[in-house]
Symmetry: C2
């Protein structure tokens, strides 16, 4: 019923080895033979079985992508960059969604490995101890984008979050803001720790202490959570709110406006994601601008190097950032 390489070989009156050679672009085939085989392939509408191929060659030309939440614009922007480069290098991507669940993250990884992917990239993600162990045991090349793990053993692509947030915080403090609230996303992530450190460093540089004037809250990274957490922010009399997620920032923004606060007069808002959303709300959201697409693209490029066993000079890539002060900051 399904046509196999064997059928093609028979029809073309060659051996299956030869058919395999033309399939794989092996130059050791006489042009006439090649043409003959190609014609039969066309006529029979033959398509190689990628599964059999994968088993025989131990390569699947497939990379796994593990994402906390595809419906989050932050991650899907990263994914676009990944995808484009993957295509350029003739890899296909299997995207799996963990729904921010570290357990699923681990399962997804194992499942991808059992599918014999040639490599996997984590976009964000918790990367807990267990998962790290599985990665090590798997002997599969892994690159992590937009997250990090403490030992820096894994190749990664990031921006310098610590510096970025420190710069932003210092600016707020220098301009007279005193009560800065930071809203973490509830999916624990090494990055957020760097960010906390950055905030603390900025305070310290100015001889101030974080504890009295700053508050660190946790919220889901959606719009409603931003609206919901506003009460806590407000009761802290915050004059600056920094959130991980754009959606959360927008929720905070709208709640603040509903409480007749002036933006950015009474309260300034800055997010750390810089997704397409920042330009889609009024007032436009100020944000630490990471090169999302590039992070994904560079991550995939890095992975191809590992998959080809090329040498890489820098396995922990840091990309530049900008801080875009739009209309929610002064």
């Amino acid at each position: 019923m399904t046509v196999t390489i064997y059928d093609v070989a028979r029809e073309a009156k060659v051996s299956m080895a030869t058919v395999s050679r033309v399939l794989n672009g092996n130059p050791n085939v006489k042009p006439e033979t090649r043409k003959k085989v190609k014609d039969v392939i066309e006529r029979l509408n033959y398509r190689p079985n990628a599964v059999a191929r994968g088993l025989a060659s131990k390569k699947t030309t497939t990379v796994g992508v593990i994402i906390p939440d595809i419906s989050n614009l932050y991650y899907s922007a990263l994914a676009r960059g990944l995808d484009d480069i993957a295509e350029m290098y003739n890899y296909q991507t299997i995207i799996t969604n963990t729904e921010n669940d570290p357990e699923k993250e681990k399962d997804s990884f194992l499942s991808l490995v059992s599918k014999q992917v040639d490599g996997v990239v984590f976009l964000g993600g918790a990367l807990n101890e267990e998962t790290l162990t599985d990665i090590k045991n798997s002997h599969v090349p892994v690159v992590i984008c937009g997250t990090s793990e403490k030992d820096k053993n894994l190749p990664s692509v990031n921006i310098d979050y610590f510096e970025a947030i420190k710069e932003a915080t210092a600016k707020f403090l220098e301009e007279g803001s005193e009560r800065i609230v930071f809203v973490k996303a509830s999916f624990s992530n090494q990055l957020e720790n760097h960010i906390e450190e950055g905030i603390k460093a900025a305070y310290k540089d100015l001889g101030k202490s974080v504890d009295d004037n700053s508050l660190i809250l946790t919220a889901d990274s959606d719009y409603q959570s931003g609206k919901d957490i506003f009460d806590q922010i407000n009761s802290h009399k915050a004059d600056v709110v920094i959130t991980m997620s754009d959606e959360t920032a927008i929720g905070v923004l709208h709640s603040a406006m509903d409480h007749d606060l002036e933006i950015p007069g009474d309260i300034q808002v800055l997010s750390c994601s810089n997704t397409r959303l920042v330009n889609m709300v009024r007032p436009q959201l100020s944000s630490i601008a990471m090169p999302l697409y590039d992070i994904g693209a560079v991550g995939m490029r890095l992975l191809t190097k590992y998959m080809n066993e090329e040498t890489v000079d820098e396995s922990n890539v840091i990309l530049p950032y900008k801080i875009e002060y739009r209309s929610t900051t002064r």
Copy 2:
């Protein structure tokens, strides 16, 4: 290096067939044997090779998902529904992104088939003649969600777009609106034709003609395209704008506000996607509310039936819709 079923068999002093049986939960294994094998599996940290499995069993427990644009909230909402149900039925999903390119759509499908997926679902998509032919030739179960093809040969899940848009249009006309502009997305899609028909039907029912008073434009489905197309809308002196995409609607909205038009006083806006965005802008966007998550979920459920060769009573499922009149309509 990698541990195989053969290693497990040897260590457990059984045949590989027995190992295979415990792997697949075959009841014909003595409890003690089962335990013995499981212990060895644990000890050796053995993980079955899904590729070999797929080749031998001709099943991959994997379904392909073809999406025009993952970074579009409309599609990612559908994908979430799909994913949840897929997981429930122990299928994994391979998501591929076509970037709204019919050529890529076709290639993605073929690639998925060569990977021996057990089924594929299209979310949206152009489904041109060529792709349809490939689908027919592939003998792989296919379900399409949020799109349709003219012959209705393929199982599908949709809402009644025609009715929805007719109802909305009729309401606008009855309430005195006269100049309705419809903004299609540029990715041609059978659905949009249904929508056009719905608009025409509404006009006709009231004894009016579409041509004089209605204008049909085409724009990409992003925010900027919405802003850009406003000039055309404005020069038509539209009093109602209906767009496929939420982002486009928001772009139109903001442009209109920048031109000092009152919303919804001077111009009303309605979108057809109802993604999370509708609540994240001020004023909140009125929209035809489709059950996005459910469309995906029902689609995947339908696919499982085909993959199991169960009988299905209704292969073209129509789910209910609501029209949510929020703050951009009167």
